[in-house]
Symmetry: C2
Subunit: 152 residues, 2 copies
DNA sequence: CCTGCTTCATTGAACCTTCAACCAACCTAG
DNA sequence: CTAGGTTGGTTGAAGGTTCAATGAAGCAGG
């Protein structure tokens, strides 16, 4: 299959623990703000954000799920809740009878306005304020390369 | 309160999307392997790993929860399942009547042996093989600094 | 045009996490 | 020594995610 993968040495382990620490704790930290300001979790917030910025204001469910880093099943459950709450609408895609398109409602846009400023502020506090421009560039590059591997 | 937090510019947004993409997708990716090889999720795996390496083979529930990046309540539920499955034991702390100590059983150690090699291999494939030593050092430093902010 | 494969999406059940309530043990000021 | 506060841990219920099953719509070959 593959060569013996050597165990992580002390320095690698320290890096990994910090890395996985960020991965595990960041979502919960972000959700405290989103829940408080707009009663949303991070996935729901992503759904609203991507719909807001979408070409034509709509996205197919499966494209939206990919953008939000979640499964289509997860999105389907979440979309039902968001639709029941009047934050989004769904309707059949005219071009492809299998697809469903989602669109933000005015109420959804309002909800986003409640969430976004605090969210951006928090993201800055936690990440961007800690890195200078050069470090930020590096960090982005690392993340893109690792993400590419995860998606492969 | 605080100054106007400027919106993320295009480059910052690209960095953030890659970063949050890793944060959201990595746990699921790791859990596919852990579930397949040892029928564990990542949190359960962490519990076993930290108990394995603990001084004296035991840890207090609350210390273990912190190390595993989870809440005490979450650990309490997980520990009950792991204990029912015979992978860990719990017993009263002799020094402090409020505390509970957890310890790995032989079955737990065996389970860990099933999970660990594939886990380490996957972590290497996804992260460390993508970064050269200098980049890895940087990455670890960034993660530590961001984690410090999250924990503050 | 019909058969089988693939894609898109939804659903219910099982499972896991969170949240709030609760309890016991410890600590400390008066 | 004891009343009130804090720390450590567990629990049940509510809510969210995953997994597998289902079904409709499109597509491609015979």
């Amino acid at each position: 299959m593959s060569d013996e993968a050597p165990w992580l040495d002390e320095s690698e382990m320290a890096t990994w623990l910090a890395f996985i620490g960020v991965v595990m704790r960041l979502p919960g930290t972000l959700e405290v703000q989103l829940r408080r300001d707009a009663d949303l979790n991070h996935f729901e917030y992503s759904v609203l954000v991507f719909l807001e910025h979408a070409e034509g204001g709509t996205l197919r469910m499966s494209d939206l799920a990919f953008l939000c880093n979640g499964s289509l099943s997860r999105l389907s459950h979440v979309a039902r809740r968001l639709e029941n709450d009047g934050l989004i609408e769904r309707f059949a895609c005219p071009d492809d009878g299998r697809s469903t398109l989602a669109r933000l409602t005015d109420a959804g846009r309002e909800r986003l306005v409640k969430a976004a400023p605090g969210h951006v502020r928090l993201v800055r506090e936690l990440v961007f304020d800690e890195l200078d421009p050069d470090e930020m560039r590096q960090m982005g590059e690392f993340a893109k390369r690792i993400l590419a591997r995860i998606q492969a």
